[in-house]
């Protein structure tokens, strides 16, 4: 059946970024919700806390994102009832991948990044496409501003190739404060040229003591 101009989907724009550190993870997303050339709201959170040490940020169609978040939250509750503990970030990553592929022939129009701490307490970032293909990486960006951000992160964070032997750690040696500053800079830059990115950026930092949240203002034009 012809797609007829995307009437089943909508792209609400926005950008998400995540960086994994040795003992922390930074995950950030802007708060602008747009459609076409209009702005629906300047104050919409694209970030969702899935488990104690696992946070998901997504850009794309926010209607599908809401449904996906509810789906994962319900599955997490079942897991907690059965196993008496929270899901680890790598486990949640696999669950998200399976959930996305389940709808391979009517996909969730969401471009997701999962960030958190793995069972060893090291930062981890998982990046996805719309149908569940995923990979653990040291950093990632998704959304309308991703094309402007990824080259900068490549330059600053110099992630080693996953094909190297012996395997090199993908997490950045940067300190937590430096990583947060990098994220702020990178969002400010993307806001300059991407019309869908701006208003505010919501930054979450996950470390051993919990999850800390910060909001930073961005250009509103």
């Amino acid at each position: 059946m012809a797609l007829r101009g995307n009437w089943m989907y909508e792209n609400n724009g926005g950008t998400c970024v995540a960086i994994a550190g040795a003992d922390y993870c930074v995950i950030a997303a802007d708060t602008r919700l747009s459609v076409g050339y209009s702005i629906y709201t300047r104050d919409y959170s694209k970030i969702c806390k899935l488990a104690d040490k696992c946070v998901m940020a997504s850009s794309g169609f926010q209607g599908d994102l809401k449904a996906l978040q509810k789906n994962l939250a319900a599955k997490h509750l079942i897991y907690q009832h059965q196993h008496n503990k929270q899901m680890s970030c790598p486990a949640m990553a696999q669950l998200l991948s399976n959930t996305l592929y389940y709808k391979r022939f009517f996909p969730y129009f969401t471009f997701n990044i999962l960030g958190g701490l793995d069972s060893d307490g090291k930062g981890c970032v998982f990046t996805y496409d719309a149908v569940g293909s995923y990979e653990r990486v040291g950093y990632s960006a998704q959304g309308t501003g991703a094309g402007l951000i990824i080259p900068v992160l490549d330059n600053q964070l110099k992630s080693p190739s996953p094909l190297l032997l012996p395997a090199k750690d993908a997490v950045t040696p940067l300190l937590e404060m430096e990583a947060v500053d990098l994220v702020k800079d990178v969002f400010a830059s993307a806001t300059e040229r991407d019309i869908y990115t701006g208003d505010k950026v919501e930054i979450l930092v996950i470390n051993a003591s919990g999850i800390r949240q910060e909001l930073m203002e961005l250009r509103k034009d």
Binding site: K70, A74, L77, I78, H81
Partner: protein
């Protein structure tokens, strides 16, 4: 009970209008280890006796968290209880998914009762051999329900099920009118007392009982063993002091029995 020719099938009525298989299922509940529940206007407490198959094994879980606002204690065939708990958890999750709000307790117990009733009317099934004390909080307040294998359910101020539960019921019958105004801690203490009544002289320690609570601003959770032991110790110190001083212990109001609310 009695062996007779009308008790083979759950779908066979006796001439006296009874379904013996259902009544035998309720016997299974009476044989299980005791569980008690009490409620006030703001909290509901569940307490159970932990029976272990032997000294070498761990004890069976009889208290299950169903959702943040609902928990159950079971008596009887614990395997049936585990399966029903999984069903109840699913119902709560599905309701919250669709309506973005917690499932009211009264609706949950109706679904559970309907599920139990099905097993009393199918020749290829058997009734669940477990009684459940459902404790929960919702917009209408605190609730304690008892769900029977027969498919019946009743709401209670306080109730006890399982072996030697009559002793706990008698203890609570004398006090239940005050429960609504009890504080959280008084409710926990009385739950522990009620459990002690069912032990008939056996020493009460925190290792043989499990206490769980749900309240306004307090999601359902099992109370830590250390805290329970402290409550038990504080109570026993007071009792030893009273006995040693040879005083008459503080007396309960001896109510002439009005309608005993906890039959069945």
């Amino acid at each position: 009970m009695f062996r007779n020719q009308y008790d083979t099938d759950v779908t066979t009525w006796s001439p006296a209008g009874r379904l013996f298989q259902v009544e035998y299922a309720m016997e299974a509940v009476k044989q299980g280890a005791a569980a008690v529940g009490l409620r006030s206007t703001s909290h509901v407490v569940l307490a159970t006796v932990n029976k272990a198959a032997s000294d070498l094994s761990s004890h069976q879980r009889k208290v299950f968290k169903i959702d943040d606002h609902i928990g159950v204690a079971i008596a009887g065939l614990t395997a049936d209880g585990r399966v029903l708990s999984r069903y109840l958890r699913n119902e709560c999750i599905n309701h919250a998914f669709v309506y973005e709000s917690p499932l009211p307790v009264s609706r949950l117990v109706v679904r559970l009762a309907d599920k139990a009733q099905v097993c009393t009317q199918r020749s290829w099934k058997r009734p669940y051999g477990v009684g459940l004390l459902v404790a929960g909080l919702d917009e209408t307040g605190a609730h304690l329900y008892y769900n029977c294998p027969s498919g019946n359910y009743f709401e209670y101020q306080a109730f006890a099920i399982g072996s030697r539960s009559q002793a706990a019921k008698t203890y609570m019958e004398r006090r239940f009118e005050a429960f609504n105004n009890y504080s959280r801690d008084e409710l926990i203490k009385d739950a522990i007392f009620a459990i002690r009544e069912t032990l008939q002289g056996e020493k009460l320690t925190s290792s043989i009982c499990t206490v769980a609570i749900v309240g306004i601003d307090e999601p359902f959770h099992v109370i830590d063993q250390k805290i329970i032991q402290e409550v038990i110790d504080s109570v026993e110190i007071k009792e030893d002091a009273a006995a040693a001083a040879d005083q008459a212990p503080a007396q309960d109001d001896d109510k002439s029995s009005e309608a005993a609310p906890m039959d069945i």
